[in-house]
């Protein structure tokens, strides 16, 4: 079974995301900060008369304070009826992969372990596949 993946880069690390869940990739408009929201939430932004929640992908992984700049690439995903923009540094390409992601959980750092589904081979490199819905879920599991 062929599966399409979007390969993107944040904080110098490449990762892949199943293309099924992805609506579009847009440059970030003005991001309005939301005080007291979950730590990875950088804020909200307007996208074609919808309000999307902007997630700092790096902050979701390593727990740093969320910050997304205008113009940064947002991968727009729809998760349980809410639109999210996952901020990344760069979006590379869409690629096909025949194999299912290989589980390598023990090898990942905790932040990655929480959000990753495994590893795939893209153009000779190993790339972690991440699960967008884990990315947006509350930090409770990470804090514990």
């Amino acid at each position: 079974m062929e599966q399409l993946y979007l390969v993107a880069e944040a904080g110098g690390t490449r990762f892949a995301m199943s293309a099924d869940t992805i609506g579009s990739v847009v440059p970030a408009p003005d991001v309005i900060p939301v005080p007291r929201a979950a730590p990875m939430v950088a804020g909200v932004a307007a996208l074609r008369s919808n309000v999307i929640t902007v997630i700092d992908t790096l902050a979701a992984i390593d727990g740093r304070p969320a910050s997304v700049l205008r113009g940064q690439s947002l991968i727009v995903v729809n998760i349980v009826d809410f639109l999210y923009g996952l901020a990344v540094d760069e979006v590379h390409d869409v690629c096909e992969c025949r194999e299912l992601p290989e589980k390598l959980e023990g090898a990942f750092e905790p932040g990655w372990r929480r959000i990753s589904l495994g590893v795939i081979e893209v153009e000779g490199h190993s790339v972690a596949v991440i699960d967008p819905s884990a990315l947006i879920s509350s930090s409770a599991s990470r804090a514990a």
Partner: protein, 785 residues
Amino acid sequence: MDDLLAEFIAETRETLGTISGEIVAWEANPKDSRRLDDVFRFVHTVKGSCGFLDLTHLQRVSHEAENALSDLRDGKREPTPALVSAILAIIDRIGEIVDALELGEEIDEAIDGLLIAALTATEDDSDMFPVASQSVAERRNPARSIRVPLELLDRLMSGVSDLVLSRNELSRQLRRTKSDDQVETAFDRMSSCVAEMRDAITWARMQRIESLFAALPRLVRDLSAELGKSVVLEIDGADVELDREMIEMLRDPLTHIVRNALDHGIEGPEERHEAGKTRDGVLRISAHQSGNQIQIVIADDGRGIDQKKLGDRAVESGNLSADAVKTMDGRELLDLVFQPGLSTADAVSTVSGRGVGMDVVRSNVERIGGTIEIESVLGEGTKLALFVPLTLTIIPALIFGVRNGYYAIPRSNIDEIVSLNRGRARMEKVGGTEFAIIRESRVPVIRLGRMLEGENPEGDTPESRDDRHLVIVRSNRRERYAIMVSAVYNHEELVVKPAAPGIMGAGIYAGTALPDNGLPLLLLDVAGLASAAGIRLSLSRNTKDDRHEIEQISAAPEALIFGDRDGRRRAIRMALVERIIDADVSQIAERAGTLRLVWNDETLPVVTCSPLPETGTVRLLRLSDGNAAIAYAIESGTADVGPLPETFEPALRPGRIAGVAVVDGSPIELLDAHYLFSEFSGNAGRRPWSASSQKPRCLVIGGDDLWRHELLVPLIEMAGYDITFDATEDSDLVIDASDADYVSSELQDNVVRLTADPSPGKGRFYRYDRTAIVDALNARLKAKG
């Protein structure tokens, strides 16, 4: 009953469409017992419903078809073409009868004998009845209502909300480019279409509150049996309509309140007998629309709530100090029932009293933008009143700024806005909590900027320019607090959508919206904000000495005092002012004989007392009486909210000005809102009564002069009455506004009693409850014929 019939018709017609196909498919394959079962079930359902609805004729026809089908199922008869045709004919006939029922037509019963004969005919005489299938082709098409899945309605609603948002965005883009008349005309047209569609969808989603009340008789029956009590349930106003989403949201709170009333409120028969009450307890539930709010009242005649006990419990549980409880009055003590973990129930029962308390009820009601109030007299009963908005999705809200951010609060939560610059409030710090002293009442303050973003990095002092306004909000009549904000912008109708879990988890937001400026906006949850800031009811108290005076002030209606375009200071009742609009003059033009403002999705008649400038912006007040709206042009200077002066010198002639009062040494003219609406709102549909001299006469007794002349009389006249104030004259109807039962009770039927108390007792109406008064007048007019 009509509803049941309509439902039966819709349901039968829907099944009919599919059933003919089933029966033909079954005829082609007689071994297919599943299809036969489907047909049988349909006929059986029709028969059953007919018995219930007392449609004996239809019941007989379907009964015969059911018999034949039953024989087929049991293998007693063979599915011959003649028999199948006869069954089809009966099914078509059911369709015809259903159509006739819907149109209220006479049903010709003569041909049914033949149809039934065809069913019972043996194969030999199959030619005695020609196969009836032509009626399918000529079936009338009277379907005036169809059934639509709720999901589709929800999708339509969210689609229309998106449409409104896109329209707003388009309007923003248009404003940036140079204006082109043709484009603007087209855009205006689109705007009005969108508005119309929004209304239609909102209407489509309206549901009678009956569906909320329908489960209550059973609940009351089961509970009273379980508790060994005898309770009579009285339901009133089941035809009030409400957004169906609101109905769902109210289901749990209402059930909880009813459980409480039965378990803790109403006593057992013996106890009631000893207390001198009837053995049967009474639970009254009523719904009632006033303006764009629905009021639901749940009242029992049980033992009431022991306020002292409530206070003691609050002290025991550590929620309040004994001293604090001592200083609280009855109302404040009663409001303690909304505190988490407080109950006067001595024992936990299977029905209620298990921790899920009134605090949850209250937060559920507040989540949908409603409020809840409680009244109780020990030994006499408890009354809970819920006020909820008509619809959830579009909320009028105030937008304000905090440091560099924007937020919004539902307008229904806002009491008033006080500017700190003008010294109308002063700040005080007691025990680590900040209070604002506003007209001698002490209100706890949340510094929103500090709460949301922490201490200002520049180390600004509290009195710095950042915090210049106090927005006084309440989540309940008694739980008031102030939010300190940097700037107050405008009122806007927001399409509010839920925010993502990561944002809602903060507990202080109610949702997100996209206002006209195109930047997302967060709607604050007033109750959540208070609990996040740790404000407790006990802190929100008036200073002791002058409490009496304060109550008077807060009971007085408020007025907006502004500079009018001719330079005079004028006032208008605050309740009529919906929002302040700053509009470009180009949005105002003469259309259909009067000045009109095109604003968002509507056109408003504009009232101005001096010509408008050629260019620039004009500030307008959007006034609304609940139905119609007009815009009143004012000077863009300052506008203050203050108590409405109690005495007015009435104007000599009726006109735009109702009277004049002196406030702080200078004269203020009060606008006559009834006059403005009757002159300018355009759709003041006067009844044909005015042509006839045979108008019934209405006598008005009591009530202060200004009010009865300026506000009450136009209402009565519009309803089609002549007015008299002379008690010696004959009259068809008496309006008693004296608050003292001036009219003796012999005239009960012809008396409408009004009171200045906003929560009137039984048999009275609040004197500004326009809808109720007009309804009462119309009802009595109709009763007269």
